[in-house]
Structure formats: C-alpha cells, structure tokens
Chain length 353, copies 2
C-alpha cells in the first residue's frame, strides 16, 4: 500500500489471470488457449505488415477490420467495434453503458473480471445465483436493474444459454431502456450467437475475441457487434482512453483471421470432438462433467477436493484452473488441448483418483 | 446521443487524434511520427515472433521488456511498467494517482488528452497558464493540489523544462504527498530526462513512448519509469482493466528497439539537425519559431491566420497540425520529416506567404 495510490487503487482487487509458466514445461490447459496454431494466412499477413510503415500510427478506427467483419457477419462497419482483446472492450462497455446510480446484474458464478470492471468504474452490482445445475435462468434478470452482462456459453461452467431466452431478456431490458451484453468469447464451440438480433434489439451488444477460436491469444484482438449507437458509445470511451489501442500487426492478423473461415471451422470441429470424447472418458471415471458448449470442461473429481486435485495435476505436469470460490471450489476448469494432451490428462486423472 | 449511454459517455469530449489519411498521398507532418523507419533489428524480431506461439497469451507482466529497460536505464525491473502506448499508461496513471476530491494541475497549453483523462476518471483539474513566452513556470505549481502532470519538452510548444526546476517541484510535491508525472514522449530530441531522480523522489513518474524516437507509432508501445510503489499502482489499475494489453509481437519489437541504441542515436541526431536547419530557414522567412527540444516545431507565419495557413499547406499536399485554441490559434505544429520533406515544406511556405 502506497500513500501515492488514490482510494480506487487502494481498494480495488485486481483480476488474476491464469498462470503463464516461464520455466517448467507444462501441458497447459489453464487459460482456454487454442491447442492449434493460427491460420498460416494470419502468420503471413503479420510478417508482411512487419515493415517500415510501423513508423506510422495505425488507423485509429481499425476500418479495414470493421469492413471485413461487417462483410462476414452481414452487418454494417458502424455496427462493429475493435479492441485490444475482448477484455479491453468489456472495460470500455462497463464505462459506457452502466450508471453509478443503478445496480447492474451478472451471475454469481461467471467471468471473475466482471466485478473488477464494476469496481473500476464505481458501478454497483448484484450477482444472481445460477440454478442448482449451474445454468443461467434469464427470468431472474427480468427485474428493474441498471443492465445485465453474462457470457454465452457461461464461464467457467461452459453451459450455453438458448437464444430464445436471451432475446426474451433483451426485450425486457429494451422496455427498461437498459443494455444487455452477451460475452461470446466461447460461442464458436457450440452456443448460438445473438448478433443477428442486433437490428431488433438496439440495446444488445455481443462481444467476441480472437483469443480462443481464432487461436490468437498472443495477438490481443477482440471485437463487438451491436447497434450503431452502442458501437458509437464504445468509440467515445475508447477515444477518451487511447486513440490507437490496436497496432498495425494485430490489425493485419485479425483481418486475415476473419477471412479464413475454412481453416477455423476445421480446428473448431476438432476441438469440439476432442471435448466430447474427453467428457465421455471423464464421466466413465465417475467425474461430474457439466455439459459444455465451450473449449473447456468444468469437472468435479470423485472423492477429492478441488484444490488437492489441482495440485496433483500440477505435480504431474498438467496446468488447469481452480477457482477458490463458494459452490465451485471442488471443480476444475480444464481447457481442451490436442487429442494427445487429453489422453495424457485422462491417464493422469486415472492415476490420481 | 443514445439513451443507452451513461452520463459519462454523454458528457465526455473525446480526444481527436491527428488525421491519418487513407487515400490522398500527403507529406505527413501532423502526428510527430519519425520520418525514419524502425531499426532493422526490430523488424526482424517481430517477424521471428510471428509464429505458432501466437496461440498462447503473452506474459501479462511484459517481464522481458522490463528487464531489458532496467538494464538500459540502470533501474530495477520493478521500476518499469509497459503499456499499450504511452496514452494507455497516462490513462492508467490518471486512474491510479489522482483523487476525485482534489484538484490536479497541468498547463493550459499542453497535450490535449490530459483534460479528457481527467474527465474520464472524474478528477477535478485546474490549468496553469504558460508564461508569455510559452514556457512552463514550475513555481506556479507549488501550491496545494492533487498532483501535477506536464510533458517535457512540452507539447505542442516543444519548449523544454530544466531538470533543476522539475526536481524542485518534485520536492515540493513530495512534501505534499502528491505525484508528479513527467510525460517524456519527446525527451530524446533534446530535453533532460528525469528518470535518474526516481530514487530520491518516490512520487516522480516518467512516461515514455516508442512512437516518436523509436519510430514505432504503429506498434503501440510505451513505458514508465518510477518508484516501485508507483509502478505497482499502475499494475493494479492495469490488472483491473486488461490483463494483457501488450501482444507478443509488440513485446518482441520493443525489446529489440531498446537494445539498439546505436541505430536510434543516429536517426535522432539526424532529426535534431533537420529541426535546427528548418527553424533557421523559417525564421529567415520571418516566422515566429518557438525554441524546440522535440521532433516538431511550433511556428507562427507572418501576417496569415493559423487556420488559413493550415488549409493552404494541406492544399499543397502537406499535412500539419492546427489547434483551434486561445493563445495558439495562429500557430501550427510541424513535425520534423526527412531533409527532403522539410525542403519541400520551406518551398511551400515561401509560396504561401
């Protein structure tokens, strides 16, 4: 604690990202990275952009990406926002759409960055418990509130929310004049995206990342799709924070990624197949495995504490994620790796239990 | 204006960056970019980092950069912070060190992003007029206040502040328990950096960018050097905003840049020589030219309004920056380009006046 920190800095509890080991070699199943490399076209585009033009500022509006995304998703470029990872977009969205005089809502078990963003911008929030089966009940959010955010599929559970329930909630919040943010970081792995509904629901913002399905966690690129007025709100905050959050290399890579659907459909299919096979094998070992539409599984081992199981896997060279939190402290979140990595995981799980 | 924007978003006046032309070819002297390309070692390092590891998150702490900078500057890695451009670090610093109950100070004519950051984080501020000769008088800031920020050399004037005046102000603010931020974006071009004083002044933060002297505006990389407690304060805000603001490519490029002092000393010397020659020739044309220690000149043409002169240069294919603001509306900020570009500028100026 320093006397030079203001009250916000003293009181905030920063988000703690998953471990990025620098020394020991692990099978890394702890931060939901893609086990497959990005498209070769992305690598090529970045190498081509590594040139003398780096002396010049990038386009502050990331226009070429917004145009490429608009073409792919059948929306207007003005309905697309680009950011330095979806985390930055989430930070901007909390700054833009939620009021410090109204209580916003998100699930009690969800992305643990949400309460940090709320505290950063002094936004009061209330968490809504998941159902006993860890699913989100959209009906619970149809109360007077300052806005709602949750991921679909939810993290760290992996459980998807049906689109009809999301649109029904969007309708309710539209009547209240409030914003609904669907954080679609993992949507490509089995949930249904809500972006086609943005024309009907100008209060609906979907946020996407290139870190998971596009295999580009190291590039830092996210984007949002929503009504022009929501996108303009994000732009106003961005332009009050950092004019150019996206560098020329990330911009080139992101455009190449969004244009190579064929490659990404293939690796996404491989990951979901590996997920289903892994879930089946873990269930055979008497694990509780929540139904996942993401690139991870949320699992409980039989007769062993979550923290102990986490430590035992780490000892055996496998990194997974453990959240020391009510209701889920006996669960582990395991990212889906390659088939070989998951075979090794199953083997190690068998040894431990 | 949208009903989904909160009060902050409705009321803020975002920063407007200099024009980045997409179509017409200009001599671009409007955003203080380096006319010379980045070091070839930087390009090579980036190309090498454009590989399959992009699927993995970067190190959230940018450790290899902090170690490289610590070695170069003779400080500890814990005294170095890395950010997505110095603009992001400025945004974090306003969030971390200035209180919404105290009035911070900066010059009336300075980087026009400062009031935007203050508004973003609800920090009250008061601007202090520059002297009549447009220099900063540090004595004016020795009053009870919530903290101070200014650039050295100042922008858009280019006038440097002597180190002894900065340390004297740091001493005064140390007694008040307040932070002094020196924004050293342009320091390499002729001012004296204050970072060697951070041991004596734990309240002193120096902020640096790779966009100007390192010729990497397109890479988005900045860093700060200060006491461990100030750097930790920045980390707390960063980790409450975006765990990984720096991608793997920018990290690799920034390390290569900080290690290639020889290349950068050479191009910095060329730019300062071109600046002095340009200033001399403009003075011969009866221009008022403020004494600059930066990679730009702040100049007033004889007998022509600033906005008219800006438009006339644009018409002739030269982009410069005009600020429509009291006291400086007849001045233009002209970035230092190559010798050829500045010869063309002089020629065009002669035609206009």
């Amino acid at each position: 604690m320093s006397k030079y920190w203001n009250e916000k800095t003293k009181n905030i509890s920063p988000y703690i990202p998953g471990e990025q080991p620098r020394d020991r070699k692990f099978i890394k199943l702890n931060t939901n990275e893609n086990p497959y490399p990005p498209s070769p076209k992305v690598i090529e585009a970045i190498k081509n952009a590594a040139n003398e033009d780096l002396r010049l500022y990038p386009d502050p509006s990331s226009t070429i990406f917004r145009e490429a995304a608009a073409k792919k998703y059948g929306v207007k470029p003005e309905q697309v926002f680009a950011g330095n990872g979806s985390d930055e977009i989430l930070a901007f969205a909390f700054a833009a759409f939620f009021e410090s005089t109204e209580t916003m809502l998100f699930p009690d078990i969800s992305y643990s960055f949400y309460p940090v963003y709320a505290d950063l911008w002094n936004i009061p929030y209330r968490t809504i418990p998941l159902r006993d089966d860890f699913s989100i009940n959209c009906e619970d959010y149809k109360t007077p509130n300052g806005g709602v955010i949750f991921p679909n599929p939810n993290a760290p559970t992996g459980i998807p929310v049906p689109l009809a329930e999301i649109t029904s909630l969007a309708e309710n919040l539209l009547e209240q004049g409030k914003v609904l943010i669907i954080d679609e970081a993992y949507v490509a792995f089995g949930a249904v995206t809500a972006y086609p509904c943005i024309e009907k629901y100008p209060n609906l913002l979907t946020i996407h990342t290139m870190s998971k399905s596009a295999g580009l966690a190291g590039l830092r690129f996210g984007f949002a799709v929503g009504s022009e007025e929501l996108i303009e709100g994000l732009c106003r905050i961005k332009d009050s924070f950092n004019s150019y959050p996206i560098d020329r290399l990330a911009l080139a890579g992101a455009v190449a990624a969004i244009e190579d659907s064929a490659y990404y459909s293939e690796i996404t299919a491989k990951i979901t197949a590996t997920r289903e096979r892994t879930a089946k094998e873990l269930r055979e070992l008497k694990f509780t495995v929540l139904p996942s539409a993401a690139n991870f599984l949320f699992v409980k081992a039989p007769d062993i504490k979550g923290s102990d199981f986490f430590a035992a896997l780490r000892e055996k060279g496998i990194l997974v994620r453990h959240f020391n939190k009510d209701r889920i402290s006996d669960y582990l979140r395991i990212s889906i790796g390659t088939d070989e990595e998951m075979t090794e995981l199953i083997k190690r799980c068998r040894e431990i239990i």
